[in-house]
């Protein structure tokens, strides 16, 4: 994608086995190569690889420079099939099944470059720093003056003078400066054409001869623009995505897994967050964020129930519905149906407010379902925490 967009990158080969990595080394014809773990998270260079079975440390660093064919083989076998834990993956890490073997590069200096949508300025922000190859969040904290910024409007593209002055502020000159300007011009067009939400190049390298090369990159796409880019499906690695979050999306639900033991089912993102907050304030721990959305029907509510009940840590469920377009009596019938189908065995608290809340409550109370009904948000938090045996600590 970068190459197609006119951004200069090192030659490299994507591999999934040690054998492929070795033949990649042979085909690149470079004495020095980089062997890079490919996962959907940053901090790979400073990450640690662990064995899946024994949990033992296999190797430090998920990105390695190899000086021989033998080293390529060693690094590839230490990376593939192992768990890479980085600052961004959380303690459970990610299993690495993809590698990138890239020809070596004569590095004179490493820089950092990123493009993202600046929500406060309503424009695209370019951030560049002379401190490449390191954690940019740390740079932002310790030496914010080392980060240079420029903005542009997507409909106007990146003006050349802005590109140039950004390069100058990084101390670039001669063919490095012209190569930098050309590269960020290409990146700016790629950002807009492909509906990116972020492009991060770290490190961006000035080579010994002068030209700039993007050594490593992360790209995120705006999911709302999916309809303009059907080709993106081909880039997707489903093994990198959470199965339950994917299934929730298919039903028009928005789901995020959390650490607690109280399952939540709410209509609306803000109210879903507020419901989690209330659970916590009353001494409980929410197990998930789940917004059933404005267009929920009986089928999607049943799916939502099934998804939260898969969580074995669950000790209780809180349903919080403020009816608007969604009617509480419809939700009540769906809850009864889903509980019968799934054989609900843990306490259930339901709070209804808004459209048809009285009818909804009556439907639940007239059913055989063991359910605690409440009418306010505060009562809901208190009731679910008490139902699972009181505050957790």
């Amino acid at each position: 994608m970068f190459r197609e967009s006119g951004v200069s990158v090192q030659r490299g080969v994507h591999c999934t086995t040690v054998e492929q990595a070795l033949s990649a080394y042979d085909s690149l014809g470079s004495d020095v190569v980089a062997v890079k773990s490919q996962i959907h998270a940053g901090g790979r260079g400073k990450g640690d690889l662990f064995s899946l079975d024994s949990g033992e440390l296999v190797m430090q660093g998920g990105v390695k420079v190899a000086f021989s064919r033998e080293e390529v083989g060693d690094f590839a076998s230490n990376i593939l099939g192992h768990r890479l834990v980085t600052k961004q993956t959380g303690p459970s890490g990610k299993i690495v099944s993809n590698l990138y073997v890239e020809s070596g590069c004569d590095i004179a200096h490493e820089y950092y470059l990123a493009l993202l949508v600046d929500r406060e300025e309503d424009a695209i922000l370019i951030m560049a720093s002379t401190e490449g190859g390191v954690d940019i969040e740390e740079v932002a904290e310790t030496s914010p003056e080392a980060i240079h910024k420029a903005w542009f409007e997507p409909s106007e593209g990146l003006p050349e003078d802005i590109a140039n002055s950004l390069g100058v502020s990084l101390g670039l000159s001669g063919n490095s400066l012209s190569s930098f300007s050309e590269m960020i011009g290409s990146l700016a067009s790629m950002f807009v054409e492909k509906d990116c939400s972020m492009i991060e190049i770290n490190p961006l390298v000035r080579t010994g001869d002068g030209p700039m090369v993007a050594l490593d990159a992360k790209v995120s796409f705006d999911e709302n623009a999916e309809f303009r880019h059907p080709w993106r499906d081909g880039l997707r690695d489903l093994s990198e995505e959470s199965d339950v979050e994917l299934r929730a999306n298919e039903h028009g639900l928005s789901y995020v897994d959390l650490e607690g033991n109280i399952g939540c089912l709410v209509n609306g993102a803000g109210l879903a967050m507020a419901t989690m907050d209330v659970i916590k304030l009353y001494g409980g721990e929410p197990a998930n964020f789940l917004d059933i959305g404005g267009g929920a029907d009986s089928e999607s509510i049943t799916a939502a129930f099934e998804i939260i009940l898969e969580d074995s840590r669950l000790e209780g469920i809180l349903v919080n519905i403020f009816g608007g377009i969604i009617r509480c009596d419809m939700v009540a019938r769906s809850i009864i149906e889903a509980s019968e189908e799934t054989g609900l065995k843990i306490p259930l608290v339901v709070r209804f407010s808004g459209t048809n809340h009285e009818e909804g409550r009556k439907v639940l109370e007239d059913s055989d379902l063991d359910v605690i009904t409440v009418s306010t948000l505060g009562d809901a938090g208190e009731a679910i925490v008490n139902a699972i045996g009181g505050p957790s600590s």
Binding site: E120, L258, G270, G354, L377, G378
Partner: protein
């Protein structure tokens, strides 16, 4: 009084012949909104039956605005058509009326489309956009009122509280709690949960400051971005009425998008804690517990001498 809309506001529905447009068009008229027409390309010349009135469908916004004299429009079109619909409405209001109000309900508009829309609107200062990805705006009247959006009208009642919120159902929650302590609303504005949007907290606060009937404001934010912090800072010197603030997402994990496109803590920024702290520093009465927004409002009113107890 109310801000931006009242019973006389003439409203067009963009996407009126679609299922959402017809459904909510009906609900809006039932509430008392003065719907004067709609726009659906390819269906110009048709008539849509709403309760007690038949309204004309136009081919374009400029025909609709010039024929009806409308001063507001509400957009119920799918995400891929929403940005062009906003731009068409903005151009028509700008050229024919020197201004107007656009309320965009649509969720899921690409962010770069919204960046382009916002820069387009900057050149048309009389045009105000509310949303997208929002429940809309409502000003309850003594008998009916004006509702431009999808919120359940009946939970509202005319009163003296202004409400501003990034969320849909959480706004209804705030409305229900103000009602439970006997306070009605002047206007409720749902500004939406997208990272790039139209009207923000500060513009709403400014309008409520200038509205003599609004005596206090409830402001509901959520994690992500820094709009809450900026509004809090602005309110220190520019807003004289009591504000009650809540921020959703104190328990949200970093790096995860919580339903709304803009609700994400990124690089450690945009946490509920930072926003609550900014509220407190600005003298805003905070409700850390979202079930106590009503109580916080009562104590804010009492402290300001606007209520006995």
């Amino acid at each position: 009084m109310s801000i931006w809309i009242n019973e006389k506001t003439k409203v067009l529905v963009q996407g009126i012949t679609g299922s959402q447009g017809t459904f909510h068009g009906t609900r809006m008229v039932e509430y008392g909104t003065n719907i004067v027409g709609g726009v659906t390309p390819g269906k110009g010349g048709q008539v849509v039956e709403l309760p007690g009135r038949s309204v004309p469908v136009f081919e374009t916004m400029s025909e609709a605005v010039s024929s009806t004299g409308a001063d507001a429009s509400v957009i119920y079109v799918p995400a891929r058509f929403a940005a062009p619909a906003i731009i068409e409405a903005a151009d028509s209001f700008h050229e024919l009326n020197e201004g107007g109000l656009i309320v965009c309900i649509t969720e899921g508009i690409p962010i770069l489309d919204m960046v382009k829309v916002v820069s387009h609107l900057e050149k048309r200062p009389g045009v105000r956009l509310i949303g997208p990805n929002c429940p809309g705006i409502i000003s309850p009247g003594f008998d009916g009122g004006c509702k431009i959006g999808i919120m359940p009208g009946y939970i509202h009642e005319k009163g003296r509280i202004g409400i501003i919120s990034k969320s849909g159902t959480l706004t209804y929650e705030a409305v229900a709690q103000t009602m439970s302590v006997g306070e009605g609303q002047t206007t409720c504005v749902g500004i939406g949960g997208d990272p790039v949007n139209g009207t923000g907290f500060i513009e709403c606060l400014e309008a409520f400051e200038n509205d003599p009937e609004t005596e206090a404001v409830v402001m509901i934010g959520e994690i992500g971005g820094s709009a809450e912090e900026e509004a809090a800072e602005w309110s220190k010197t520019n807003f004289s009425k009591p504000i009650v603030g809540f921020v959703a997402g104190a328990t949200a994990p970093p790096g995860k998008r919580m339903g709304h496109a803009g609700a994400i803590i990124s690089g450690g920024k945009g946490t509920a804690e930072e926003k609550f702290a900014a509220f407190e520093a600005a003298g805003i009465h905070i409700a850390r517990d979202p079930s106590k927004i009503g109580e916080a409002l009562v104590s804010a009113l009492v402290e300001a001498g606007l209520r006995e107890s």
